[in-house]
Every structure is written in C-alpha cells, then in structure tokens.
Amino acid sequence: MPIIEARGLTKRFRRPVKPPGLGGALRHLVRPRYEDLTAVDGIDLSIEPGERVAYVGPNGAGKSTTVKLLTGILVPSDGEVRVRGIVPFANRIANARNIGVVFGQRTQLWWDIPVREAFRLLGDIYEVPDDAYRATVGELVEVLDLAPLLPVPARQLSLGQRMRCDLAASLIHSPPVLYLDEPTIGLDVAVKARFREFIRTMHARRGLTVLLTSHDLGDIEELCERMVMIDRGRIVYDGPFAELTRRFGYERSLHLLFSAPLPEAERVIHRAIGERAPVIIVQPDETSVTLTFDGRETSAGELIRDLATALPVADLRIEEPTAESIIRKLYEGTLSFDGADRSDRQAIRT
C-alpha cells in the first residue's frame, strides 16, 4: 500500500490584481479584481514505503506547493491526498507526528535557543519516550557529528552546521516519511556530500520514505531512484532517474570544425544529407558548425559519412545528452523533435 497517495491533487490560488500606483491600490479597495492561478493541476502521485523520490521542476512549477499540500500546510482546492492513510490538512497534528520536514531556506530550530535544548523541546513536543529519545538523539549526534554544536544557539550556526542540526531535528520523533525541500541550497560540496551520505544511511537503517525537491542534480542522482518532474503544475515525467537519458536522450549534437572558412556550410550540408533526417544547423562562425539531430532517425556515423566528403572537416566532436542537459531542456521546453517542436521539423524538411 502506498504511504503517500495523491489523486487529482489541485491547488488554485486567487491572487488580487492590483493596478500599479496609489490610484491602482485605491481602485482595488473599491472594486477588487482577482485572477486564478493553478499552481498544482491534477497531480496523481503514489509513493511506496521506503521509496526515495526526487520531485523536480523549474522555479514556479508547483514543487513547493505540492510539498505544502502533502505536509498539511495548505488545503487542496480539489483532489485527494493521504499520507499514511491520514488526510494531512484535515488532521494536521496526527499527520505532523508521521512526518519530518526540512526546509533548506529556513531553520526549524528556535533562533535563540541552544541546539541541545531545542532537541529536548522537540522530544517533548512529539512526546518521545525518554529511552527512545536518548537512543535516537545519541545516534543522530554521532552520525551527524553534532556534539560540538549542542551548546550553541541556532543563530550562531553556519549554514552547513544549521542544516545538520535541522536534519537531526526533523528525525527526533523517528517519522516514517521525510520531506526535504531544497535541503542543499547554499551548501558547499563537502557538506552536500555529507548530507547525501546521511540520508542514504538513515534510509538504509530505518527504511525512511524520502521526498526530495532540489535543483541539484547530484542530490537527485545520488539519493533517488525515482524522479517525478513537474512543469506548470502537471507531472511531465515519472519514472526511474536512469531511464531519463534513455527516453529523452535521443537528441544529439555533432560539432564540426573546418580546415578552411566555409560561410555557406548550411546549404552544402543540406545538399549532402538530402532527405536523410531532420537536422537543425547552427553556424556560430565561418569555421565551425553544430548539427542537432534525432538519434532515433539517423546516427552520427551516417551523418559523418555523408559530410566528410562534402565539407573540409578538420575535427569533430559528438555530444551525448546528459541528464542535466535533458532536464534543462525539459525545463526550458526546448526539447527538440518532440511534441510541440514538430513545427521545427517541418521547417527543416521543406
């Protein structure tokens, strides 16, 4: 049975439209106008216990809103959501006992209170029995190396130290579900590596279910076997991270460097490859050219065979798609040869 389940989950916001200036503000007071904004648009999500899921998407795609819906901070406009069988917004307190949440941008700790007291307070708030508290905090302090930080109030911690303390704070009540909302933002590489190691350790030891939002590909690649990508409130990809390159990695590039200037390479190339396959040609200067093509329809080998005799090729480089470039292109909506980009293809053919 899934531990996190959402069906048709939707969140619409009604935002006031205020014309600029004082006059606009006054007009808004008299006759308010609103616009509807759908931040999360009918999301279906099902996560099994022990899964580690990366939830990614460009800024403003609806990631944080989804996390807020799953944690009970926001009430959905439509659809259903259950976490461990509990409807988060309807039963916020019961849900809070089942989840740990880390917001990368803000601390969970009390600004002026030393870390040790904050942990003890959380133990009291979550009503953790004494022996369980000692065991858990002992483990967390050891794994995260927190001993030197215990007497320090949160305001005096560095970002990396604060993140370690926040992680510990989110796990004091041993929740089965952990939400990490951009946990590694602003952290240096060493701290990031440590953070990932910690999550892997806790996952192995406790079978935590982890939902991570991040813009850091390393976090996603190293921590999550499954990736859910959201764009404009809708899920555009849900599957194994490794399959991303296989499924969307058909767009390849061939960079050619000429031994002599060739201003009209584009025309020559078209004549050489004829009707073989759609190719997008970009010529940044007279001595080089970049061909972008669909790996499902032609291969770099065939293109090189056709072009090597027609052009004065001095050097060449084939660019394989990386997960990063695929994600970037999905974000930007510029993944060629696919869906909306068919028009490009037509243009090239004619």
Partner: protein
C-alpha cells in the same frame, strides 16, 4: 479543537512553560539588551508617573480621583502589560513570520500554532514594567490605607490575570491582520495596542467616544478601571461593570480565537 481535553491542556501548559522559560533565559543572556530593556521600560513609564505627580501637586483630585487612586490604575495596567510582554510577546512576530514564510514550519509540528506564535519571543522589557508597576501599585494602595482582606487580594489577583489575558487577546486580534495583509509596515497593531494608555487614567476624564471605545470595542477599561471601582470602593453608576471583568475578558478571548481561526484557515487556503 475547541473541546476541552485535559491531557492535551496539561501537555500544552507544560510545553508553554518550557518554551517561555527558555526564551526568557535566552533574553537574559543578551546582557546589554536586558538592561536596556528594563531601564527603558522604567524610564518610559517613569515619565508618565512624573506627569501624574506634577499634575496632582496643584489639584488634589480629578473627577473624584486622588493622585494615589490614579497611581493604582497606572500600576495595575503596567503589571498586566508587562506580564504580556514577558509571557506572550511572540504574537508581535506573526506578521514577520508570515511575510518571510517562516509560519509554515509551525504548521508541521504537532502543536497549536497559536501556542507556538506566543512563545516565539519573550521580551525582557516586560520585567521592568512589571517591577515598576508592582512598586507603584503597592505604594499607592499603602498610601490609600487599603484594608487588605482575603477577598481584596483575590480580587487583585483576578484583575491581574484577566488583565494579562485581555491585553494579550487584543494584541493577538490586532496582529492577526497579518493573515490578510502580511506587509510589515502598517502601524495598525501598534495603534490598537497603544489604546491601553487610556486605561492608566480614570475614564471620567474622557468623552463618551473614548469611554465607549475602551469599554465595548477594545475593552482595556477592564484591565484596571472597572475592577478598581470595586477595589477602591468608588461611587459610580457603572461600578457593576467591575464584576463583569472575567466576562468581558472571556468575550474578547472568544472573538480573538474566532478571528484567529478564520485567519489560519485563510492562510491554509491561499498561502501567503
């Protein structure tokens, strides 16, 4: 959530006490801040006291109130207000927390967000106000040769507790506006809160507008004036209102709780 659950209530009381003690301890640890806060509070209210002293040096009584009777009102108001600053000042951080998105984290803990907001700050400023208020109140009642019976001691305790709840509830009410307008610039909550200044003097001094305001709209009159009518045994057609102090406090608390719920529901509906 309005149902009374004794276990839950005891649990909340314990968590509240722990949190506020830690916050007070943290506040004391900023040594310079501590003294600036205490001395500042004393100086600010000291100026008001000097004014009363100067005023009454020429006139023996105003609207039937002597200098020490006015000082009694002054002291009671300061005690209630100072206790609020010490024990419930966190409400003033609500707008900032909403504005910066920090309010979210309060909703992922298994604890009432109101309790978390109240305990997010303890102002050491309040210590000065409470101490000065106590000195003024005790000196005034001593000079008035007040006959301290058990009933009167209990009456004063009730007044202080209700006063604390009243000023806290009104501060809450004034700040809950943050759920609708999270801009931190508006001085609205301060204006509302400062109406308490009227309660430091007998309401006979004011016109009907202000009397109505502090009796029925922002009933700060119940923090000191109305209960003092009974404590000081004053002849007044509105004397009976003194007995309504707990009722008025409960009513304001109820309204505040209702508006708070509306605000919270709005926050969970639209975010910020």
């Amino acid at each position: 959530m309005l149902t009374l659950d004794l276990h839950r209530l005891r649990f909340y009381a314990r968590i509240y006490a722990k949190l506020i003690l830690l916050q007070l301890r943290a506040a004391v640890e900023y040594r310079a801040d501590f003294w600036i806060g205490v001395v500042g509070a004393v100086l600010m209210n000291g100026a008001g006291l000097v004014f009363i002293a100067a005023f009454f040096s020429r006139i023996p009584a105003v609207a039937g109130w002597s200098a020490w009777e006015v000082a009694t009102l002054y002291g009671l108001t300061m005690i209630a207000y100072g206790l609020r600053e010490m024990l419930c000042d966190g409400i003033w951080t609500l707008r900032v927390q909403i504005n910066r998105g920090e309010f979210d984290r309060l909703l992922v803990r298994p604890l009432s967000p109101a309790l978390q907001i109240v305990t997010s700050l303890a102002s050491i400023h309040g210590v000065g106000n409470v101490l000065l208020g106590l000195v003024v109140f005790l000196t005034a009642t001593h000079r008035l040769e007040l006959d301290w019976t058990v009933a009167k001691v209990l009456w004063v305790l009730m007044t202080v507790v209700c006063g604390l709840i009243m000023v806290t509830a009104i501060s809450f009410l004034a700040n809950v506006i943050g759920f609708w307008e999270p801009g931190t610039q508006s001085s609205f909550p301060f204006m509302v809160s400062n109406v308490v200044e009227f309660a430091k003097f007998p309401l006979e001094l004011y016109g009907w507008g202000i009397r109505f305001l502090v009796t029925a709209v922002l009933p700060y009159g119940f923090v000191s004036y109305y209960p003092s009518l009974i404590l000081l045994d004053k002849e007044n057609p509105l004397r009976w209102l003194g007995y309504a102090t707990p009722l008025a406090t409960a009513a304001v608390t109820f309204v505040t709780a209702w508006v708070w719920r509306k605000g919270l529901a709005r926050y969970q509906g639209v975010g910020h």
